[in-house]
């Protein structure tokens, strides 16, 4: 099955640029038996590409994302960036960014304090002026110019997610992971923000892995879409190609595009 997927997908550049996940397996220990959340997944994201990881809830897509971030230990497999194995590298040294579903902004820091948090140790964090400049630049990018001094508790849901995006992008991570970043918002806001996120990712030239259960969102944001069902990646293709050729019946059923 996995080999089929690889055959139909546009081949990622194998010279080693970008993210490569090899045979990733994530297991959750239970009282009696452990559950297999991610089942031997191999996946690549090219530098500069946005890949959507699309699947129903409970399919293991968030677990895979967290394993890439280093937040979930893997029972097997490897995570590589530019050909370098990161599997044993702790979270804070991977140089990846993660945007949580509900933002997880630090309630005790203002907007600017949140956005500046990740700048320590980067070229933007050298001086107070360079930090402030970067924060302003990021807030401008997400359309929240002048929000720096605002307290987190005064933000609306959509504004909070914009701040979370700015915070994740500020240190210029080599890979941005987005975990259902819009699913806690209402429908209208979600559609509006999906377009914005796509624009921001393009403008920043970010390599991104975008987890979602909403195919409209996936199609709006991503260059390629990987469909994940029951812990396995079943199909990887560009949006147009995916709609033209659904692959198997289960994928078609999930996408709601079956005959």
């Amino acid at each position: 099955m996995r080999n089929d997927v690889e055959a139909t997908a546009p081949r990622p550049d194998r010279t080693g640029s970008g993210l490569r996940v090899e045979d990733a397996t994530v297991r959750y220990p239970g009282r009696t038996a452990s559950t297999l959340a991610v089942d031997d997944v191999t996946l690549g994201v090219e530098a500069g590409e946005v890949l959507a990881l699309l699947g129903p809830s409970g399919c293991g897509k968030s677990s895979l994302l967290r394993a890439v971030a280093g937040l979930e230990p893997m029972a097997g497999g490897r995570v590589l960036w530019g050909g370098v194995d990161l599997t044993r590298v702790p979270v804070h040294r991977r140089g990846f960014g993660l945007m949580f579903q509900d933002g997880q902004l630090f309630p005790h820091r203002d907007v600017a304090g949140n956005v500046a948090y990740g700048l320590r140790g980067t070229s933007f964090g050298a001086t107070r002026a360079s930090r402030a400049e970067r924060v302003a630049e990021m807030l401008d990018l997400v359309g929240l110019d002048g929000f720096g001094a605002r307290s987190i508790s005064t933000l609306s849901g959509g504004q909070a997610q914009r701040v979370a995006l700015a915070r994740a992008l500020a240190p210029q991570p080599r890979l941005l992971l987005l975990d259902e970043p819009l699913s806690s918002l209402d429908r209208r806001l979600r559609e509006e923000l999906a377009v914005d996120v796509a624009r921001v990712l393009r403008e920043a030239g970010t390599t991104a892995l975008y987890v979602t259960h909403d195919h409209d969102e996936a199609f709006a944001v991503a260059d390629r879409v990987a469909v994940m069902i029951d812990g396995r990646v079943r199909r990887v293709a560009g949006p147009a190609e995916l709609v033209a050729d659904l692959g198997d019946a289960e994928v078609a059923e999930f996408l709601g595009l079956g005959s």
Partner: protein, 549 residues
Amino acid sequence: MWTLAVVVPLVFLAAFFAYPVAAIVARGFVANGALDLGGFADVLGDPRTWRVVAHTLEQAVAGTVLAVVLAVPGAYVLYRCSWPGRGLVRGLVAVPFVLPSVVVGVAFRALLASHGPLGFLGLDRSFPAIVAALVFFNYGLAVRLIGTVWERLDPRTEQAARTLGASPARAFLTVTLPALGPAIASAASLVFLFCATAFAVVLVLGGQRYATVEVEIWLRTTQFLDLRTASVLSVIQLVVVAVALWVSARARSRGERALRLVEAGRAVRPLRPLRSPVDAVTAALTALVVALVALPLLTLVVRSFRRDGAWTLANYAALSGTGRAGGGGSALTVSVWAAAQNSLRIAVDATLLALVVGITLSLVLSRRPRRPFARRAIGALDSAVMLPLGVSAVTVGFGFLIALDRPPLDLRSSLVLIPIAQAMVAIPLVVRTILPVLRAIDPRLRQAAAVLGAAPGRVLATVDLPLALRSIGLAAGFAFAVSLGEFGATSFLARPDRPTLPVVIFRLLGRPGEGNYEMAVAASVVLAVVVGVVMTTAERLRPAGTGEL
């Protein structure tokens, strides 16, 4: 780093809790190197033992029932209803719980003594006096525990019952009361625990006549030097406390089961004593209880300014002296002010110790590791830490006395013993204050920091610390206040030349001599004021929405 964080508090608890307790058990069960149940049989065969146990249970049950029954209407008026001045009365009701128990004893003696405001009742040094003092002590706690749940109970459930034809009384009995059940049970078991381990209040008000297990342990140790009987009694007390703790934990976990809760304040409505008979009755009852809570405090203050029927500051002036004893000697070895200085110095040390151990423990216990082994280890540590929670101060003091005066740990003559004992009493409070706040931090907030490049140390400094800072301040205040007023453990350990303020107050009470009693009253006011100031300062730091202790 985590290894160190686990090992340091564990070593501390092992040396200053497990080891003394083991020493107590050994004293009771082992004689001449062999298992000997003779001591146990002797003590259990002595009718005095059963009288003491019966006294303990009678006092604790009576105190608990009365405190909780009065606390239900109190919680309604003070938490479910709003009215001008509510905050002030809530503050007043919370005062007794933080008062040093010696002070409460002195206040009730002042109230009930033959020349006191309620002297005509003839209740001085009686069973009702002890129960009244226990209720005085714990009423505020029970009101708070029940009230903080009640103020968040969704009123629509009761309204649904009313629309189904239930009378207000039936709606209360069938909907509200069952919902409050776990909170009431939890409050009752905690109050029972405090009543059953009450020491100084009973010692001051009841003396030998109404001795409880705690008092009996103290009497056996300090008056009769009968360490074996004291050990057996300590084991009995440990069992009583363990059972009460277990019941309390069960009640608490039941209380965490789904209740329909709304944001605090949304369910609160104005108190209408003129229109609603329920409001009128509960408000009147609560007003009466509040007056009875205020009375001993007022009497104490007034009495401290009176001598020989006239107003005077002489009682306070006398605090720089050492009191009087028969034959022209003095009642004390040092002046009251010197003792107060000792108390402050010891309290600073005890607070630092309690904070270091308590914060480290809270950090470890707040983590949820993924490995099943580590998870189980934390669960075990959790219960191990909560064990000293209920162990009475008297047991701690007694255990230190018999365990730490010989190798391998010979600290008897060392000045660190009292701060360590007081820290042992304060640590559970510190953990209980900080741990819930740390546990409430979404683990993903720490993950967000890590993903942004923060190493574990920076996560601790920029996420955990700022969010827990207020609770750490509150815990420091708790620990300081507890240490200042601590009497149970200190009474076993204080050296005659370096007494603390509560010890001096107790000594003054026991020495007949002109002006000694008045000095004790004035010193009690001083102690109460210092503790009160520390607590009000700390209370301002209380994080919103944490009600527990």
